[in-house]
Symmetry: C2
Amino acid sequence: MTIQETGTARPAGRPRSEKAERAIIEATLDLIGEGMGVSDLSIEAIASRAGVGKTTIYRRWSNKEDLVVDALATLKAPMPRLSGTSVRDDLISLLDAMRAESGQPRSRCVMNIAMSEADRYPRLMERFMKRAVEPRREAMRAVIERGVASGELRADLDVEMGMALLSGAMIWHTKWGPEGELPADLAERVVDAALSGMAP
Amino acid sequence: MTIQETGTARPAGRPRSEKAERAIIEATLDLIGEGMGVSDLSIEAIASRAGVGKTTIYRRWSNKEDLVVDALATLKAPMPRLSGTSVRDDLISLLDAMRAESGQPRSRCVMNIAMSEADRYPRLMERFMKRAVEPRREAMRAVIERGVASGELRADLDVEMGMALLSGAMIWHTKWGPEGELPADLAERVVDAALSGMAP
DNA sequence: TCGTTGCGAAACTTGGACGTATCGAAATTA
DNA sequence: TAATTTCGATACGTCCAAGTTTCGCAACGA
């Protein structure tokens, strides 16, 4: 018996480097964040960026898609804490988290991939949606439903439509709004616009 | 002097085939519509799909990006005729045109490219936005401004925000809504939701 | 009819990425 | 210390698409 028996018995030889593994995933996310599509990614580019031998990648992942799946899976949703004081405040919090993320190249991964690669990599998308998108969506849905129940929102509100208005407006600004950073008060303005509507 | 002097004097030799040119552009749009990114397109695939020799492509375009630019430029916006009776009706017409297009593979080009390739092909995007997106955007802006002027919409409405709500909600449904075709009444529901707002 | 140019097909060269193998060094167990 | 495994680096053969060239034929003007 060996001294350490916690979990799996460590095999002989040099252990795999956690650091290398993280560097590989970071490099992958970086490249995707810079606008690369999945099919543009090359293992060689990832290895080079990560300062790692190709062997070290192939020892862990047998192909590019597996690597991307794992890389995206590490993008956990750091959901904003919701104050719960008012539906308006909570919606602003959620949308402002979107705004903040849209500035970071890293989080652009989410959008770039979600937007463009759905058709080509369905397996990847499925897992990615579940991991990174669904939790946020669920959070927003919960807030809206709470608002309907509490009377802060219209009783006859279509919840999905509400999500479409709010999220869609944020996406629109990200992609087609004025150049540069999104304004700091964008989330608030979007929420207020969606709440009050366009009609007088 | 030659007999025909109408415009440019025809050079000697066999004239270029209009048919081949159209076939090339059609093939390009088809492939993009099937979900291919610009970088996934191969000249050989285009030539093969168009039933054309690679030579015939390279004789006209010196590289892939030029070809894609021209191909997308032919996607003219078949703008819906606006009745002008009410702002609501006109907005529904505009959004319903979006819905109808999202069903056609050909028009998915617009979305796929616009969504995903912005960072990588800025030159392409610029020309494409000008040609295919800006006219529709301008039409919607005009309708909203008319509504503000006529009192059909809030006097203090932020026009850009209104566009974001409407267009964004349509995009959201296209990309993340329930599977399958968009419901026939989606445009109407989006417009009404955006007009009346989420607050009671 | 003849010269010119475009046509599709195919051969060709080049370059990049793939995935594998091999190297000496490093890290760990026994 | 010896055995084992991973490390980064690099070389290798394969494949695929890019882009160029060549070929025989077709379409046009003179």
